[in-house]
Amino acid sequence: MSEHEYVPKSKAAKWFNDRLPLLTLGAHLTDYPTPKNLNYWWTFGGILTFCLITQIVTGIVLAMHYVAHADLAFASVEHIMRDVNYGWLIRYIHSNGASMFFLAVYIHIFRSLFYGSYKSPREVIWIIGLMIYLLMMAAAFMGYVLPWGQMSFWGATVITNLFSAIPLVGDSITTWLWGAYSVDNPTLNRFFSLHYLIPFLILGLVVLHIWALHVPGNNNPVGIDIKKPSKDTVPFHPYITIKDAFALLVFMIIFAGFVFFTPNVLGHSDNYIPANPLVTPAHIVPEWYLLPFYAILRSVPDKLGGVILMFSAIFILFVLPWLDTSKVRSAVFRPIYRQFFWILVIDVLMLGYVGAMPAEGIYLVLARVGTIYYFLHFIVVMPVVGYLEKTDPIPMSISEPVLTGGAEPSLARKVNDKV
């Protein structure tokens, strides 16, 4: 945090700022001292903000043409695609935007895992981020239901039926969620209402996420605490804004590639068949970003067990800051943990792959192995490796590795020093 007092130049600005210190806030955001060694993995916060705003703007526009009724929803989506001026473009941005949003958030989460950004003193940032992630999944699921195609209908049926696994009250909860005795018009109507609400809840949490970030300041690839401001930091503007802007442009090129060249590649063709409560499609698969959790659900041959394990896979992340016992944040200086990190990445990708395949034969075996490793990684590997690992020497400051081209052993801290 910059400590200097901001004084507006003009009298009018000073008058206003004394009553509502918005200009002080602006000055704080501009001058915000940021570690000078942030790499491109740190640009995804800005990219995610862009994704959220894109979804809100395109979503508000789509809601002007969409009709949330079981008899009309499918036709109204086709109306958007064929009749509404640029409706095809806006809908394709919105539907592919959801995928791009998740792509960015997964990179953002794994960046945090690699560089230990969830560790003290940033636990609250991490937990708010996970709440945002949970809300994103809820919003994406409900949004997928709105076109009222076959995948919409049966995806909604399968996901809402997860709650029927709860002992005693499960069926009442499911009926309550539906507002009917099956997924029906009341379900569609309330999903539309909630789908419109959730992005604004996310926006509120994003403000808290950034606020909590600005208390300790950014973590950085070296993972050490730094003095702010100092020769280890640069002002957020223009140094970080320009870097974020460049990364965002590259991201937008990929985004546009999907929107203009393969707008349906991430969707499922069955969703262009209107919902039919009498026929279940042969292969129900969720959207790609939920596949790892779907694989975990299907790896358990028991209904309640599968549901519990799937939710645990998400909620275990909330206690991650306390499962990781290492004093060193960044995996750059953790030779053992670094390898387990990449095993986890491969494990999650594999779970995603088998989640898209039929739950039988080798896929079922892989799903079970993947599920077991996923939980072992957090429950066993993280606490144990944190204790036993001999970490590499940590630099005294960011400037040393940057300016001298490598840490001098004599300048390095001892492993167990406080970082």
């Binding site: 049966w154 049926t157 399968v158 809402t160 039926n161 997860l162 029927s164 009926t175 309550w176 969620l177 539906w178 507002g179 009917a180 005795y181 099956s182 997924v183 029906d184 009341p186 309330r190 409560p277 009498l278 026929v279 279940t280 042969a282 292969h283 129900i284 299907r298 358990v300 041959p301 028991d302 209904k303 309640l304 599968g306 739950a359 039988e360």
Partner: protein, 173 residues
């Protein structure tokens, strides 16, 4: 602290009374907000469906929609009934006699919700390892009585409330 302050005084009473009335008030407002999401009168009004079964041949089945869910009506052959009754209860994950799944004297009519008890998909007929139904979503096998035999589904397919209005009509619900 003096002795008087430790005693329950008028202020403590006012606090407790205020919190209590406040909690009741909040509850009275929250409950309607929650209960409005339960099935409304229009949904409840769809609670019964009458089905004409006069032209279903033995061994055939039809599917009708009741409360937005598919209901299978199967007219079973005597071999199928015998097969269902030959199964030992010990072999069933959710033990239930076939006799308890049909109306007495109308043994050929199996009327059940065509909804997989795992996650709600519609099972396919004449498929699976037990000559009954097979759910394509997550691989549950049901027998000719609609009982779960293999796979992740926890219970047999549900038998809804139904009655024979006359020999050719079934009322579901």
């Amino acid at each position: 602290m003096s002795k008087e302050e430790k005693k329950v005084n008028r202020r403590d009473f006012l606090f407790t009374a205020s919190y209590t009335v406040g909690a009741v008030g909040v509850g009275a407002v929250i409950w309607p907000m929650i209960d409005q999401m339960n099935p409304d009168k229009a949904q409840q009004a769809l609670a019964t469906t009458e089905v004409d079964i006069s032209n279903i041949e033995p061994g055939k089945s039809i599917t009708v929609l009741w409360r937005g869910k598919p209901v299978f009506l199967k007219r079973r052959t005597s071999e199928e009934i015998a097969e269902a009754r030959a199964v030992k209860l010990d072999d069933l994950p959710d033990p239930q006699k076939d006799e308890d799944r049909v109306k007495e004297g109308k043994d050929e009519w199996l009327v059940m919700l065509g909804v997989c008890t795992h996650l709600g998909c519609v099972p396919l007929k004449d498929k699976g390892d037990f000559n009954g139904w097979f759910c394509p979503c997550h691989g549950s096998h049901y027998d000719v009585s609609g009982r779960i035999r293999k796979g992740p589904a926890p219970t047999n397919m549900e038998i809804p409330k139904f009655e024979f209005v006359d020999s050719n009509t079934i009322k579901i619900g």
